[in-house]
């Protein structure tokens, strides 16, 4: 390799290699998020047809409102879940955190507007502490994220089951108003809050040090550590953000239901559905690759599916069946693609190698 005679073809080769690598990589990256929105478009078209068959309009004001509302809660939770999965962990505790947050917030508000600030701070602080504990378990004690979050979730569910029976407290009128408000009757405020969260988290992932560290640690924690990244803080931050976002989602739920419920989270199955949405959105379950934009696409697919099944009055149990099928099929399409994907230089050498090796041998 070090021979000077081979230098000229070598550099040409490397340039070609780099050129070959770049557009291909760009195309692939476009493909990964574009694919999920392509699937979404397909689902929407199918839904429009099916809704029309039922004699109703998918794009009616009320229906769009319903779809966007359905997206907002799962969306916020899935954004947090994206962060946690990106960093190579997992959060199964979200349903219990959501339930706990609704109970604490509703209990704190007691139906009075004056209590809102204190209740909000209380709720989100409790969520943040739960996230903090989980993050420390994962990062300092090296407990697998699956177990840490499952354990924390069980602990919280035991607390909820022991101390709360039935609905608890009541939401303040202002919060309920928020749940009903929106822009022009088309876009609910809850959806805007979710969108704002998505934009903020995307900006954080793209432009801040924390965001880059999240990807680095998710890709390979040991390599990140040896490269000088402090691995504890980003993992903790991801878990805290996830739990806080679950708390915000719980407040949105509360704004609609009006009372805190100790079972609302586990009824919604937010743990498994949010993970499914994240993976559907193209984020690798092993961490290190993915985006919030994709996750929102995954959430939208679920929301549209749910909506059309609601319009068609599908049996609620059959809904789960359809959901399960969609998850496996969609991810099967996607996972095969992402397995082929690898860091550009490896991808480039692989595609160019057969030609280059024969060249070098002949030279």
């Amino acid at each position: 390799m070090s021979a000077t005679a081979a230098k000229v073809p070598e550099t040409e080769e490397s340039v070609r290699r780099r050129r070959a690598a770049r557009p291909k990589d760009a195309k692939r990256r476009l493909g990964s998020t574009a694919l999920i929105y392509l699937v979404l478009a397909g689902v929407v078209v199918a839904s429009v047809v099916l809704t029309a068959v039922e004699g109703r309009n998918f794009f009616s004001q009320g229906n769009i409102w319903a779809v966007l509302t359905a997206m907002s809660v799962l969306g916020l939770i899935a954004i947090g879940q994206t962060l946690v999965i990106l960093v190579g962990s997992l959060d199964l505790s979200v349903p219990y955190v959501v339930s706990l947050a609704t109970v604490i917030a509703a209990g704190g508000m007691k139906g009075l507007d004056g209590n809102i600030p204190a209740a909000l701070v209380n709720t989100l602080a409790v969520c943040a502490v739960i996230g903090l504990v989980m993050g420390l378990l994962v990062s300092v004690l090296h407990v697998h994220g699956f177990i840490a979050s499952l354990g924390i979730g069980l602990i919280v569910s035991g607390y909820l089951g022991t101390n709360y029976q039935g609905s608890h407290g009541s939401a303040a009128p202002d919060l309920r108003l928020l749940g009903r408000s929106g822009i022009a009757g088309w876009i609910p405020t809850a959806f805007l809050i979710m969108l704002a969260g998505a934009v903020l988290v995307t900006l954080m992932l793209r432009y801040t040090r924390l965001g880059h560290h999240l990807y680095a640690i998710g890709g390979n924690r040991e390599v990140a550590r040896m490269s000088g990244v402090r691995t504890v803080m980003p993992v903790v931050a991801a878990h805290v953000l996830c739990s806080v976002l679950a708390g915000v989602a719980a407040l949105l739920l509360l704004s609609r239901t009006g009372v805190g419920s100790p079972t609302i989270g586990s009824q919604g199955r937010y743990d498994l559905l949010s993970i499914a949405a994240v993976v559907l959105g193209g984020t690798l379950l092993a961490g290190g690759k993915g985006s919030v934009i994709g996750t929102i696409g995954g959430v939208a697919i679920f929301a549209v599916l749910d909506n059309v099944m609601g319009v068609m009055q599908v049996n609620p149990f059959l809904k789960d069946f359809v959901r399960g099928l969609v998850i496996v099929l969609a991810v099967a399409v996607y996972a095969r693609r992402s397995v082929v994907r690898r860091p550009p230089r490896f991808g480039a050498t692989r595609t160019v190698l057969p030609g280059s090796s024969t060249q070098q041998e002949s030279a």
Partner: protein, 367 residues
């Protein structure tokens, strides 16, 4: 196969195989896989101290019978976890089998055997789907089994309307409920205990066979196992099938205890994972013993019995379960290196290594 040559190399033996039997047993007890047996013993003594009648053989054998389904499920989950995957579909499989038993058999004695064949076939097919989805379609097992869990669970609830339906003939329920009467010390020897012991022995023999060694090797490092000649996809698929078949057996036993309702078995997957993890088996694969997984299930049930006798409200059960698994895993992450290798700084509790970086090198080697 290849695994047997690596475990007993003639030149330098592993620390785990040195010394006398007592020394090895002591050293094994320090690992999380061995410590769970000590935990079971301590919990047993605690329960007996709280309620002396629990220690009497008839009571004890009934307790073992009650715990058999969860221990069998935990052993099934063990195969999947030690191969580096998850099986979340277990609870749904149990529900499916229970409902099939309730509705297909009915009051017809003649249908018991065909039903058993049907249930085993369904269990095998679900495991096959899970395994092929994970290995050939390359979907993470968490997602595949989540999908089968939602699909199966939804289907079962749809077909039954979410309510208890059907009632299998008593002779079928006897499998889970009955036992051999008039046994000398025990009064009664429940069938679940016999089934559990048979499955345990079979499992231990299986884990000592080439297939068992290959499962552990695959969980430790799928690429290395593949290069050593193992058919990774088929090994993992069989692990999933074993898991679903174990869930099937657990379901058959549960029909006797719990009756026919689509919610039977809900949450079993997480309880089984908890038991496996409590048994010191490392999530991510490659480390842990089969019997430790079963012991984990017994430890969990003993703990719940203990809490019952202490008159702790049953609503606190999940909390205790949560605290225990976190503590167990936090301790296990440190301790596995202790029993296996003399000195290693990084704990082996890290998740399964990503397979992509190793691939380019191997493929250029083929060119």
């Amino acid at each position: 196969m290849s695994a047997t040559t690596t475990t007993a190399a003639p030149g330098r033996s592993l620390p785990a195989t040195e010394g006398s039997l007592v020394q090895r047993a002591l050293r094994g007890a320090v690992t999380p896989g061995g410590a769970v047996f000590i935990l079971v013993a301590i919990l047993f003594l605690a329960v007996v101290a709280a309620n002396p009648s629990f220690g009497e053989p008839p009571q004890l054998i009934r307790f073992i019978g009650r715990t058999a389904p969860i221990a069998i499920a935990a052993m099934g989950q063990y195969y999947v976890i030690v191969s580096g995957e998850f099986d979340l579909s277990m609870g749904a499989v149990i529900a499916t089998q229970v409902v099939i038993a309730g509705n297909y058999i009915g009051q017809d004695e003649g249908r018991v055997l065909p039903a058993l064949v049907l249930m085993v076939a369904i269990g095998a097919v679900v495991g096959l789907v899970n395994g092929l989805g994970t290995t050939l379609l390359k979907v993470p097992s968490f997602i595949v089994t989540l999908g089968t869990m939602l699909a199966l669970g939804g289907l079962v609830r749809f077909l039954t309307g979410g309510a208890a339906t059907g009632n299998p003939v008593d002779s079928f329920r006897e499998i889970g409920r009955g036992g051999i009467q008039d046994v000398p010390v025990l009064e009664v020897l429940p069938y679940p205990v016999i089934i559990l012991v048979v499955i345990m022995i079979g499992g231990v023999l299986l884990m000592r066979s080439p297939f068992g060694r290959t499962i552990v090797a695959t969980g430790d490092n799928p690429d290395a196992a593949g290069l050593a000649g193992a058919h990774v996809w088929w090994v993992k698929t069989r692990a999933f099938m074993l898991s679903s078949l174990s869930a099937t057996v657990a379901g058959i036993l549960l029909v006797g205890y719990a009756g026919v309702h689509p919610s039977v078995g809900s949450g079993y997957e997480f309880t089984a994972i908890t038991a496996v993890v409590l048994g010191g088996v490392v999530l991510g694969g490659g480390r842990g013993w089969l019997l430790s997984a079963a012991a984990g299930a017994f430890a969990l049930e003993l703990l719940f019995s203990f809490l019952n006798f202490q008159e702790v409200e049953s609503t606190w059960r999940p909390t205790v379960q949560g605290v225990i698994i976190i503590l167990a895993v936090a301790a296990a992450g440190r301790a596995w290196s202790f029993g296996r290798r003399p000195s290693r700084t990084s704990p082996p509790a890290a998740p399964a290594p990503p397979s992509t970086p190793a691939r380019p090198g191997t493929e250029t080697g083929e060119n």
